[in-house]
């Protein structure tokens, strides 16, 4: 019972259409806008949902979030349908092992977070694929006092150009739990539970922001999770 957008519209078809003549980017944009104009299709495809988590697997291109209103429209529509919406930002942990890359990941997550204006959880995936050494490295960055934990063999991070900026970013991460990354290991049930708990908590948090009658909605707790920025590791 999984609605597939390809039942509504496909990028290939759009690209092959002679009257439109789009490349891969244009085709993608067209499909997204088409989707946004046909939310009734989504409503029908979702059918009756109660107390379920619904995951939306979303495209990874940030331009779709920053330059198009489509995702925001989707979020607003879902909220109108009384879903609680939470964003889940995924980054392959292999891309986060070095201190620079880790900070880069945090910034990308922040970039996404403010675009959609919904509560967001950041997750590092595929932790099971990391070596022991890599895992230890990452654990350092999950430490509350991040700046002092950052080591940098190239000495660039604490160089003139980067020092103040790095310090202010680390301060931000330390101050705001929302900005942190949670480790996710598919083979470890506990890590999955922790992530799920965070999502539940975040959805409640979202509830506080938007709904003023929390008790009444306790039973009708249809929760919805947007899953996006899924990184595809090169095979």
């Amino acid at each position: 019972l999984v609605p597939d957008i390809r039942e509504l519209i496909e990028v290939d078809d759009v690209m092959e259409d002679d009257s439109l003549r789009f490349g891969p980017n244009g085709g993608l944009v067209f499909c997204m806008e088409y989707f946004a104009n046909n939310f009734n299709w989504l409503e029908e495809s979702l059918g009756h949902v109660e107390d379920d988590y619904i995951l939306f697997d979303c495209p990874g291109q940030i331009e779709l979030y920053t330059h198009l209103p489509v995702m925001k429209q989707l979020v607003e529509q879902l909220q109108q349908w009384e879903f609680r919406v939470c964003g889940v930002f995924l980054v392959d942990s292999q891309f986060m092992v070095e201190s620079f890359k880790f900070i880069s990941g945090i910034l990308a997550a922040l970039s996404a977070m403010i675009s959609l204006e919904i509560p967001q959880i950041n997750i590092m995936t595929k932790m099971d694929l990391l070596s022991k050494k890599a895992k230890k490295e990452i654990e350092k960055y999950l430490d509350p006092d991040m700046y002092s934990m950052i080591e940098d063999s190239t000495n660039i991070l604490k160089s003139k150009m980067f020092k103040k900026l790095t310090k202010s970013i680390c301060g931000l991460i330390d101050d705001y739990g929302m900005v942190r990354f949670l480790p996710f290991d598919r083979s470890d049930e506990e890590s999955m539970n922790i992530v799920l708990q965070h999502i539940d908590f975040t959805i409640q948090y979202g509830e506080d922001l938007e709904f003023k009658e929390p008790k009444e909605y306790e039973e009708d707790k249809s929760a919805l999770v947007d899953e996006y920025f899924q990184d595809h590791v090169d095979e």
Partner: protein
């Protein structure tokens, strides 16, 4: 700036054929094409080395979907190969007309910052399409924290203390940036661009 490409990836890798051969969707097609190109990249490096005396600058146009380049192993390989041999500068091109919303602007800048940390190279932000809209609003936002905050507060109340803290982070970011406004269509702003580019090269050399 009408210039034909000296090296066209389409000579080496054909996107649609890659999709067919490997049974991939459009994203997979782009990523795999880039991967295949990366394996041949040493040829590009040799080409650049040969032409060093003939051309002052080499411009590399990356795929329109930025993640493909910035968050892939191939993109990283290509960037690091170039940066370790030649002075390299990242040129981040923004569509000015689509950045007038302070939220979009902030999101864009945070993403630019994320790329700065990934590449660790000197950075120039190019605000394109100044023929449609002048980029002075952006410059003002970058120079005056309070005007940006005011604009942002009018748009959203989303976790406002967090966004305020993020603006402060960006403030730091801006001081390490060079910004130029251009119009590719009209060809304006390019002189300034090359001036900033030279400064960026100096930065690299330090």
């Amino acid at each position: 700036l009408p210039s034909p490409a000296n090296i066209d990836i389409r000579d080496t890798v054909k996107y649609k054929e890659v999709m067919k051969q490997y049974g991939l969707g459009p994203n997979g097609g782009i990523v795999t094409s880039l991967n295949l190109f990366a394996t041949r990249f040493d040829q590009v490096m040799k080409f650049i080395e040969k032409r060093q005396n003939a051309s002052k600058y080499v411009i590399i146009d990356t795929p329109g979907q930025i993640e493909v380049f910035t968050w892939s192993a191939s993109g990283t390989i290509i960037t690091e190969a170039l940066a370790s041999s030649f002075p390299s500068v990242v040129v981040y091109v923004m569509d000015t007309s689509r950045s007038t919303n302070p939220i979009t602007f902030m999101s864009n800048m945070l993403y630019a910052c994320s790329i700065l940390y990934k590449t660790k190279l000197p950075f120039i932000v190019v605000m394109n399409k100044t023929d449609i809209i002048d980029h002075s609003f952006a410059v003002e936002w970058m120079q005056d924290f309070e005007t940006f905050q005011d604009a942002l507060n009018q748009e959203t109340s989303y976790v406002s203390n967090l966004t305020r803290s993020m603006s402060l982070v960006l403030d730091e970011f801006y001081s390490s940036l060079k910004v130029v406004g251009v119009s590719a269509v009209l060809g304006t702003g390019l002189e300034d661009f090359f001036v900033q580019l030279s400064k960026a090269v100096d930065e690299y050399e330090r």
